[in-house]
C-alpha cells in the first residue's frame, strides 16, 4: 500500500496530520473562555453597575487563557507552511 508513495509526499502527509492533531489544543481555551464569559454574565446579573470593570477583567482573563491555543495554532501553521521536517529531510 505504501509502495507508490515518495518520501516527500509521506512527510507532507504526516505534517498535515500533525497540524490537525496540534489544533486539538483549541478545546482547552474554548472551554476556559466560555466558562469565563458565563461567570462574567452572572456577575453582570448580580451587579449591573459594574459592567465596564467586569467586561475588562473578563477580556483580560480570556486573553491569557487563549495563550495555549495560540501556541498550538502557531505549531500547526509552522508545520503546514514552513515545513521544517521536509527541509530537514532534504538537507537544505
Amino acid at each position: 500500500m505504501l509502495q507508490g508513495i515518495t518520501s516527500e509526499a509521506f512527510i507532507l502527509g504526516c505534517s498535515a496530520i500533525g497540524a490537525g492533531l496540534a489544533m486539538i489544543a483549541g478545546i482547552g481555551p474554548g472551554i476556559g473562555q466560555g466558562h469565563a464569559a458565563g461567570q462574567a454574565a452572572a456577575a453582570v446579573g448580580r451587579q449591573p453597575e459594574a459592567q465596564a470593570d467586569i467586561t475588562r477583567t473578563m477580556l483580560l482573563g480570556q486573553a491569557v487563557a487563549e495563550t495555549t491555543g495560540i501556541y498550538g495554532l502557531v505549531i500547526a501553521i509552522i508545520l503546514l507552511f514552513v515545513r521544517p521536517l521536509l527541509t530537514a529531510y532534504l538537507g537544505l
Binding site: 475588562r56 477580556l59 483580560l60 486573553a63 491569557v64 487563549e66 495563550t67 495560540i70 501556541y71 495554532l73 502557531v74 501553521i77 507552511f81 514552513v82
Partner: protein
C-alpha cells in the same frame, strides 16, 4: 507563506530587493508596510504638533484637536486606573502602543497584509515591554542585590520557575498578537480561494470580525497586558 493564494485575490504586495556587496536581500512586504505605518504616524504627529502650537488656549478647540485631546485623556485615564497614579510617566508609551497597533491591525482593510502578521514586528514590540518591565523592577528595588533577591521569593527553590516565568512573558505576549492576526489573514485567504464568485458577499461580515473586532480587541489586550507587566502585578 500563503503569498501565492493572497496574490490571486489582489492583496497589495510591496517587496523590496536590496543588493549589498553582491548579495540580494528580500525585504518582505510586511516590513515595508511597517515603515508605511510609521511614516504615516510621524506625519500625523507633525500635523498635531503644528496645530497645537497655533491653537489659542482661550478659544474653543477645533474638532480635530478635540479628538486628539479625547484620545490622550482616555489613555491617561486607562494608565491611572490600571497602573496607579505613581506610574503616569508610562502614559506616552501606552498611547504610542495603542495608536501604532490600531493602525497596524486595521491596515489589512486597505488591501495590504497587516504588519502585525509578521513575527519580527510583534516580538520587537514585546521586547520593548520586557526591557521596560525589567528596568522598572530594577529601579524600584533600588540596588542589584535586592533586584536579584526578588527572584528567590517566596523561597530559593522556586528561582528557576521565576526566571522562566519572566522570560515567558514577551513570548506569550508576541505570539498572542501574531497568532490572532495571522490566523485571521489565513482564514480570509482560504475563504477568498474557496468561495469564488460569492466571496464579496461572504467576506464583508467576516472582515468586520477578523480585521475590525479582532484587531481592536488584540490592541486593547496587548496594551492592557503591557501595563500590568510593567506595573509589576502577576498575570
Amino acid at each position: 507563506m500563503v503569498n501565492n493564494s493572497l496574490k490571486k485575490i489582489g492583496v497589495i504586495f510591496l517587496e523590496l530587493l536590496i543588493r549589498i556587496a553582491g548579495r540580494e536581500i528580500i525585504v518582505p512586504d510586511t516590513i515595508v508596510n511597517v515603515w508605511i505605518v510609521v511614516i504615516l504616524l510621524i506625519l500625523f504627529t507633525f500635523v498635531v504638533n503644528s496645530k497645537i502650537k497655533k491653537a489659542n488656549a482661550k478659544e474653543i478647540p477645533s474638532n480635530f484637536l478635540n479628538i486628539v485631546e479625547l484620545l490622550v485623556e482616555a489613555s491617561e485615564g486607562l494608565v491611572k486606573t490600571t497602573m496607579g497614579p505613581q506610574n503616569m510617566s508610562f502614559s506616552p508609551y501606552i498611547l504610542t502602543l495603542i495608536v501604532f497597533l490600531l493602525v497596524a491591525n486595521l491596515f489589512g482593510l486597505l488591501g495590504f497584509s497587516p504588519p502585525t502578521s509578521d513575527y519580527s514586528v510583534t516580538f520587537s514590540l514585546a521586547l520593548i515591554t520586557f526591557v521596560l518591565t525589567q528596568y522598572w523592577k530594577f529601579k524600584n528595588s533600588g540596588n542589584l542585590f535586592s533586584y536579584l533577591k526578588g527572584y528567590t521569593e517566596p523561597m530559593a527553590l522556586l528561582t528557576p520557575l521565576n526566571i522562566i516565568g519572566d522570560l515567558a512573558n514577551p513570548i506569550s505576549l508576541s505570539f498572542r498578537l501574531f497568532g490572532n492576526v495571522m490566523s485571521g489573514g489565513i482564514i480570509m485567504a482560504l475563504i477568498y480561494e474557496g468561495a469564488g464568485f460569492v466571496a464579496p458577499v461572504i467576506a464583508a461580515p467576516l472582515h468586520t470580525y477578523f480585521d475590525v473586532f479582532s484587531g481592536v480587541l488584540q490592541t486593547f489586550i496587548f496594551t492592557m497586558l503591557s501595563m500590568i507587566f510593567i506595573g509589576g502585578r502577576e498575570a
